[in-house]
Subunit: 310 residues, 3 copies
Amino acid sequence: MNRFTARHILGISTLSPDEITFILDTAESLKDILERPIKKVPPLRGKTVVHLFFEPSTRTRLSFELAAKRLSADTVSISAKASSVVKGETLIDTARNIEAMKPDVIVIRHPYSGTPHLLTKYVNSSVINAGDGTNEHPSQALLDVFTVREHLGHIENLKVVILGDIFHSRVAHSDIQAFTKMGAEVVVSGPATMLPSRQSEVLGAKVVLKMEEALEDADVIIVLRIQKERQGQSLIPSVREYATFFGLSPDKVKLAKSGALIMHPGPINRGVEMAPEVADGPYSVILDQVTNGVAIRMALLSLLLTKAES
Amino acid sequence: MNRFTARHILGISTLSPDEITFILDTAESLKDILERPIKKVPPLRGKTVVHLFFEPSTRTRLSFELAAKRLSADTVSISAKASSVVKGETLIDTARNIEAMKPDVIVIRHPYSGTPHLLTKYVNSSVINAGDGTNEHPSQALLDVFTVREHLGHIENLKVVILGDIFHSRVAHSDIQAFTKMGAEVVVSGPATMLPSRQSEVLGAKVVLKMEEALEDADVIIVLRIQKERQGQSLIPSVREYATFFGLSPDKVKLAKSGALIMHPGPINRGVEMAPEVADGPYSVILDQVTNGVAIRMALLSLLLTKAES
Amino acid sequence: MNRFTARHILGISTLSPDEITFILDTAESLKDILERPIKKVPPLRGKTVVHLFFEPSTRTRLSFELAAKRLSADTVSISAKASSVVKGETLIDTARNIEAMKPDVIVIRHPYSGTPHLLTKYVNSSVINAGDGTNEHPSQALLDVFTVREHLGHIENLKVVILGDIFHSRVAHSDIQAFTKMGAEVVVSGPATMLPSRQSEVLGAKVVLKMEEALEDADVIIVLRIQKERQGQSLIPSVREYATFFGLSPDKVKLAKSGALIMHPGPINRGVEMAPEVADGPYSVILDQVTNGVAIRMALLSLLLTKAES
């Protein structure tokens, strides 16, 4: 009995709390496989997953690829440079051509928000959004919620603080929705230039300009990566000033609850948005996030593909 | 009983009509696999296919890779940039080194005509030409013939028109030979600078300068891609003029037989060599070509490798 | 009974003669698989090998990848450009993130000496050094010893001459140690700028400035590649002069024992460090080295991974 009926994973915005819980529970049972000497099971044998990445990515692509392989699916990867896009083909033509080769799932990352949604109108395969512009990165949010649930036992009534460039971060946008839907209180903070202007709330999260105030009594601190490559330097005076005023130092961590979880979607700019002692400290669950990412992606592939067959 | 005796697939020029028919029949039986929920069969388990691509390619490489994986072969891909070629090694040394690692098939694409043929003198593996310079692209022609046979039931006595840069197109060169060998009448047309100069015939196809005349009573229209990246702009005054005078518009399609098949090897420059309404129209079989490409490549790999064992 | 206890393969320096012999014997039994029509066996099914290459490489990466696939392991490849390194992440963070995805072996090539050793302090996976800076390239040395043993029956008391840029060559550094440990006499020669300055010995090999003297009575001649891309041109006056004075010509081969084996780690600069007639001559075992490379890497993966389970 598969009570998961979604055909695509486009964002947290289209998932219900029940669906999120079902994904987390599935990931939990699949995570055991990652601890075995033989980390491979047969459910997706004969299925094909296409990774269509229009932005460079190591860890997300690798995580999806390993997830697919551990479920015995075949994988092929297409990166923007190698793709026909350089030959002037439209995205829709690229997608329809890939579709015509009969893959089962297309995992797409694209610099423009909404691309995965557009894709679903033109292809029959299931589509998983692996990050679209500044919109959403749902598998990241699911692994974040999974990691918190694993460590703290529940999500309801937790205070989750997200620090950094909230405005441009698809991770923030997905995280806010995922934690809020699961009953947490989400507070966001960062430089004023990186927050929604003149709003006290974003997607249900409270905007708090003062980082010290935001951190108060936090159960979970999610620090976003400074995306130097995406936004140019004009939003912050300098990396050094960002580190001084907005970097998560051991002192600032003390403002949160004792034992508050420290999270980061990676890759970390050590000494910029997070001090090394915090990243490597006893309450950091950053590497657990990476491990759990494979489990979450196994769950997503497995739920979409076993559904497709029934 | 495998009556297919070729060791390599270098071009349509070296295949007999019987061999072509045998390949098409094999592809037809393999195509069923692509419609199943589990698109994988075991005949090539333990075989290794090396894709050696000296030109960028998404769709051909992807098509070969999926074909190999669906027959359970292992695949490895080498692209020109990553290869030792940058270190000054000769092509023959590269090939002999790959050969020494005991692959079963080498699928090669190379900007110089004749490279796959040269390779066969130095390696024991089977070689498949995935496009060599302006010479041939046999798997493309086979999937084109397959697609026409699937839709119209036969090839004999059909009028097949190929439009575009006939002179520089390996697709045209292979298509002309394949359709001619199977009994079709082939007519080619395009700008005078893109046709064999002062010849009324090329490889058995009739050269007709006037596009309107060429299209008359056509059963099949194959539109070639304007290869901006290959030939520079000097052969045509401008892309816009090409579109106006040589692009396949709905009006021009009316000159052909009603229901004439519209084909394109992809990727399409929409609005240049073909109008979007034609590409997406009811008689376009462009995406069928893509699907059939996987089936044809499964047939080629399967015929070469099951033969090798006997 | 697996008497191989090493957890990593970092260099020849940390392997005992017994361990080397055990690796060679294992490779010998695995080499048979490469001669079969079905070149695949199941021992590493469900295991994952990550290839983490911070330097371009075709043949070494391909060799490891084929070795892993023929033992039924899953493989993923990460190259420096695609990796998070471009986003400013440290090597250790990259490694710990990969580790968190639970691979079984990390095969690493890196331009800095000592990187694989550093890695072992931060990850639990087995690490194989596929070349680190100018330090070591152990799998190359093992396949060289294997190839000599296969052709001459033993290593003890052979005279092995290594020609070229001894100072900067990780292949030379590993070869010297491997052949010396197995009882051979190793002599190195090359331009004075490419030899350890004012030393008569390097890692147990005798330094002989005069190439003619070095070659006398040699059983094995290993010619190193001129690494134009690594060292700039300042060490040699010109490629032409290198070819004239230090290139291995047929005449120079005559100074060695009749039937002396000719070896090269590839890719060859034909006509520079080795004359084509020598590379293609009757005593060249250069392509055997390539074939044996797959067998040696199968042995390494298999020994590390079947050990890990016990």
